[in-house]
Subunit: 787 residues, 2 copies
């Protein structure tokens, strides 16, 4: 194994962290090689290095835990780091000494709650803190410079255990969010060095963990080209347009081909069509996904074939060791060649050039960042604000905001009331602190009667193991229940099999409400749970949704409860009634309604949602007016002829001014949501589609603010069955907010539909190659039938 | 809380165990009360005690963790003890001091493997060891005298996570097994004291843990009366006929009514029809099932109603505290009365009379048992023998038995190869030792190349985290893979959602087989997994099924591999192909085939099983002849008129002699399986039905043994749609063994069907009572539809 060497820039070596060792371009063996020449391009520099590698050294460099090449002074490098909502494991090395430097960082809410803020500027600020803290930990040799975030697959089905990692169900929302995020993670493109490298995952069609025996490792997602372009791919296209540094191919197959071995996805679409083809842009596999190309996908005929097929398709890094183990055999069998391997390595090293890996620390501001820039007061406040901005007020009979003072006795119930790491959700590092609702209420001088629920009681429908509720109920003026679901039922590897409230929770909430005392329910967790029973119960006064609110989540909840902050978050996902999951198999990827599918997302679902996408109440009232920017009729040829963009769909269409008047008595944020609806393009038509949003901050009572909604041709385009984006003549409405609060109707005329973007078609489906000795046993599972 | 008192017989009080304190009938407050009068009947004795209790004291005595009544010298008593395959938690108090007295006991195989032995005598012997060890631990104040075992629900669906706790899928097999078990646990009925009290659970229709959102706590099993009598209830009827001391009612509802609140199940069938009506026979609820009667079942209109409805229906003990909490309210609301409560308590205390709880230790042999009777050499040998008897040889190309000596190099692979507690399955106590296959092979002077799999790797389809296989493969002459499934995928609370081999196992087995070296696969776990790929792979030489083989399971496996013991176990369940679960919802309780159901068990399944129920190869060959006991024709009226039994179905029909000749070269056991088939009674007809079995031991090569199969009228009866047992005229065949190896055809004539047992019909379904404030949210889930 690698040990410290005289050729490496010496950095203090913390336990277990060998990540931030840098090549020494001043005194090391490469000092006179182009890789060390700052005046050369990343391509020239990377090429010069790879040219020095032997074939064995090249093959060894395919793995995410790259060994480096000691004779050349190339240190080991760990490509796998996580940063979903703060820097996190598995290879981020936090100090184990409590309170010590490097023992914690800032832990923001899960994306599902930050998505609910509908505030792109907030997201850029959050991501900037994450990349700053990443740099500090990297400077201390405690993490790498590549982060396998964001998870930007749309939250297609409420059962998905990893939906919490995404900003929600809407592709426009995700596309806008992810652009803001990448800006904060990677920094400005004009910067000579990237802050860190973001990785858009999981490309593509990945949103099932384990459902009825359908495991993510072997699931074959059957997706129409229309749904691909309209729903599954927009966030990834946005990643490319944001110059993201890396992509991750997913475990699953798409239309028969494992993503990591699919030239159509990795070359035709990603690189050729979208232009993810800068020297420093690379693709990693999800972890061990290369082996999955062999088994369970049974795509390649041999282990060597799986390694070669993946490399040939355009997977540049193997999270795992399958390429390392089997590329030697693949080379001797002639299944791939060194040119392809070189290209993968050149991408890797060009990317490390872009983060300054080969350059002197003294020239790089990010390399100067120290511990004093981690978990700053500003970062802590931002984490709290990110949570308050996201929290959604679902129901309120007027009991909220509630002023809690020393005269008040608050009964506090539910498993989440005294939450600790539960607050963080998955992919969390070590947070600065963990402030539960109980902690936050204790900071107010009120009497708290705490009777929290049973940790891990999600499956237990009885209250036998709960604390005794009665004294806390009897002794309180107001009853606050903080519960819902957590990573015990939704998690990586585990999809939900019910949308209902779990365990004995509804029983307890019913008991609380039965008293007639003001009863407030705070629903936690990422996926929505069907809250029909408490929505319909007139004795439940108010309902908040709090997601996974991060390190200061309890404070954020109390900020909203007490009115210190007025709520303005919006549901980033549909809250379906619980029978939704008996109406459609999770494995049915289609969005439009059919005989076996009531339709998915607010655009297509043909049932009645419990709470709609975009729903969110306020403590005040708003009126909205569209003041300028639209005309009643447009001629399509004129609209197009004004367009100078290489991407027609990105051409500006209109800059719509929306005036938002706060007519109530409370200062409040307001999220302006702009939807397009109308009869244009092929039927069926979506009920509406989000095309723009903006969060206005702190509009005082009696005052107004203005949102500018910048519509593009993409705002109006439809996607046809071949996946082409087309601008159709017809009737259009711009709707502001869900009710809507304002609307503007206009028409487009001329032609039968004008192509904005022609979609490359996939090749005919290739033949499945059996591995010979292997006789059945894997392959796609079927869902059970209903009785 | 209760502390030691001068009124109690002083016993050394071990930590946490307050179970074996006994009332002091010599000097205590009750010394002159009938309860202490050994000449009185259990009824008289129990009545005299309950008469002294106040209402509060009575209500406190409804809980499984009974507080006792200090003023009367009645100590606390813990009714909840487990003894599925050895004494076990949660209230059995093993010493924590390794190797010390009371720090371990004998841990036998899981019932699913002991069921495969088809050896009732073995079961009685095992159960006798368990009850002996229970008495020793009770004498040391470390466990109670009531054991909530057996789990005797038939293993209806291979997905069931608790199928491992049962002896298999066949109702006759289970009925015969459970009679043998109860004999060993409770002792002989003529004994003045019972060894311990067994509890037949879960009555009735319980065999789903959590499937597609259908949780056991709220599932409503819709079962026809025909299937109830034919399939779900025979083991429970056998329990009553074996004078079992206790029943447990189940979480689920049956046909709309929660079992624990169902007078039809608890009174009409159990007590009135079957005669479970001795004073000392009681029913406990499953744990917290009384609360479930309220929620999630929403059966009773209030919490008090749930407590009263359950008590009124005939549930005598509440595992939980719901009755304790809510019976006071139920009494004040007039929902139940003291006569019903008295009856429950009289049953409890009469039962304690039967185990000698009130009587002097000096008069009771079981109270004299000490540590030297635990984990004796004989018990240890029995545990090993129980495992070897159960192990089933599924496939053998002649490689087995394999003589392993010092010249041989054995490659050992798979997650189970170095198993520890995995060997035990669920509901295990602390075993005497844990002998893995690796350990057992190491006792032979051979070279072992061990490269076991990844613990907990059931969901991981890659070998990235496995030990390096190559050196172990290359360096070995014979390759042994020990894997399968474990409690990571089948367990209480967790049903399987796939019947396929999990993770990377088939990949690894394929690698082993590809070498052409002799490759032997030992499949572990309770539920069968579809082994089609290795059955069909000619390079896989042999397949054994080993279940959960208990503390000495590794030795047992090696005993079979090496031929020290010849295999004679038979599969106690059908090994379905993996697509079975996409053909029928787990919630479809019906046995017969229909449009949405390929049929269940070997009797009705209309597909091709991978391995059949009853399948099991030997190291020798057997021929079988039916030598006497049957005639070719019977007149039904004659057959009936000879019957003297109160239960016509139990009347002897024939005593069939079967000669079994070992024509091969190896001494071996042989299980004589007797099936009835033929066209008699209403269509559809089952393919065949097991009606008798007997295990012959150690038949030497060239010798023969004789089985006596005692057929009753139940062997010939069919069950009609109303649940009546009827003897029909028609054609009958007695088939011996699966092929079959011998058969005898006979006819019954006369009439159109003669009733053997008229089945009491259930009352019309009662109305569901909503609890008023409670608005939806629970209730039965639906299964997802297939895409």
């Amino acid at each position: 194994m690698w040990t410290s060497s005289r050729y490496l820039v010496a950095l203090s070596l913390a336990t277990g962290g060998a990540y931030a060792l840098f090549p020494d371009c001043i005194n090391g063996p490469l000092k006179n090689v182009t890789i060390c020449d700052k005046s050369a391009t990343p391509l020239e520099r990377a090429k010069s290095l790879v040219a020095l590698y032997t074939l064995d050294e090249k093959i060894n460099a395919t793995t995410s835990g790259s060994r480096g090449v000691e004779r050349l002074g190339i240190p080991p490098y760990q490509w796998w780091n996580e940063g979903l909502h703060g820097i996190a494991g598995p290879y981020t090395n936090f100090s184990k000494q409590a309170g010590a430097e490097y023992s914690y960082s800032t832990s923001f809410p899960q994306p599902i709650l930050m998505g609910a803020a509908f505030d792109d500027e907030l997201i850029t600020n959050v991501a900037t803190v994450i990349s700053t803290e990443a740099r500090v930990f990297n400077n201390a040799n405690r993490t790498g410079l590549d982060f396998w975030t964001p998870n930007i697959n749309p939250f297609r089905d409420p059962r998905w255990g990893r939906g919490q990692e995404t900003p929600g169900e809407d592709p426009y929302h995700l596309s806008s969010y992810v652009a803001a995020l990448i800006k904060g993670l990677q920094g400005d493109d004009s910067d000579p060095y990237r802050r860190v490298i973001a990785t858009c995952k999981h490309y593509a069609g990945y949103d099932i963990e384990s459902w009825n025996g359908n495991l993510r490792y072997q699931f074959d997602a059957q997706i129409s080209q229309q749904d691909m372009v309209e729903y599954f791919l927009p966030p990834f296209e946005s990643c490319v347009r944001s110059n993201v540094g890396a992509f991750m191919c997913s475990y699953n197959s798409v239309n028969g081909v494992p993503s990591c071995a699919d030239p159509y996805l990795l070359q035709t679409i990603l690189r050729d069509h979208w232009g993810f083809n800068q020297t420093e842009q690379w693709v990693t596999s999800d972890c061990d996904a290369i082996q999955n190309v062999y088994l369970p996908h049974e795509w390649s005929a041999s282990r060597e074939g799986a390694a070669a097929d993946s490399l040939n398709a355009g997977t540049d890094i193997d999270c795992g060791t399958y390429m390392q183990s089997h590329l030697p055999g693949a080379f001797s069998q002639g299944l791939t060649n060194e040119t392809v391997l070189d290209q993968a390595l050149i991408r890797q090293y060009a990317s490390l050039v872009r983060v300054g890996w080969f350059d002197s620390a003294s020239d790089q501001p990010y390399r100067q960042l120290g511990w004093n820039t981690v978990a700053t007061n500003a970062s802590q406040q931002l984490a709290r604000r990110a949570a308050t901005e996201g929290i959604v007020l679902l129901k309120n009979d007027g009991v909220l905001p509630i002023s809690i003072d020393s005269s008040m006795k608050v009964g506090l119930f539910g498993e989440w009331a005294n939450a600790t790491t539960q607050l963080l959700g998955n992919y969390a590092g070590v947070s600065t602190y963990l402030h539960s609702p109980l902690y936050a209420l204790q900071q107010i001088n009120a009497t708290i009667n705490y009777a929290g629920g049973l940790p891990g009681g999600q499956g237990d429908p009885t209250t036998e193991r709960w604390l005794n509720l009665k004294p806390a109920i009897d002794g309180s003026d107001v009853l606050v229940y903080v519960g819902g679901i957590d990573n015990g039922v939704e998690e990586e590897g585990m999809d939900r099999n019910s949308l209902q409230w779990t365990g004995a929770q509804l029983d307890v909430i019913g008991q609380l409400a039965d008293t007639g005392k003001p009863t407030i329910v705070v629903v936690m967790g990422g996926g929505q749970i069907d809250s029909t029973p408490i929505k319909n119960n007139p004795n439940v006064s108010a309902i908040l949704w709090g997601g996974y609110p991060g390190q200061d989540g309890g404070s954020a909840i109390v900020d909203i409860l007490t009115g210190k902050v007025a709520p303005a978050g919006r549901l980033p996902q549909t809250q379906y009634p619980s029978n939704f999951i008996s109406q459609v198999a999770m494995t049915d990827m289609s969005l439009r309604p059919s005989d076996n599918n009531p339709g998915r997302t607010y655009k297509w679902y043909n049932g009645s949602a419990v709470y709609d996408f975009g729903h969110g109440l306020h403590y005040t009232n708003f009126t909205v007016n569209i003041t300028s920017g639209l005309q009643t009729s447009y001629v399509i040829s004129d609209v197009i002829s004004n367009c100078k963009s290489a991407w027609l769909d990105q051409c500006p269409f209109a800059s719509v001014q929306v005036s938002v008047q706060n007519t109530g008595s409370v200062t409040s944020d307001y999220v302006t949501l702009g939807y397009i609806a109308g009869e244009h393009g092929p039927a069926p038509h979506p009920k509406k589609s989000l095309v723009s949003y903006q969060r206005l901050h702190s509009i005082p009572s009696g005052s107004s603010g203005t949102s500018t909604l910048n519509l593009t041709l993409a705002s109006l385009a439809r996607v046809d069955e071949m996946g082409n984006k087309v601008l159709y003549p017809g009737d259009y409405s711009l709707l502001i907010d869900n009710d809507p609060l304002a609307s503007y109707e206009f028409t487009l005329t001329g032609g039968n539909g004008t192509m904005l973007e022609k979609w490359p078609q996939p090749p005919p489906v290739r033949e499945h190659k059996s591995s010979g000795y292997y006789v059945g046993g894997y392959g796609s599972y079927q869902a059970p039938v209903d009785a």
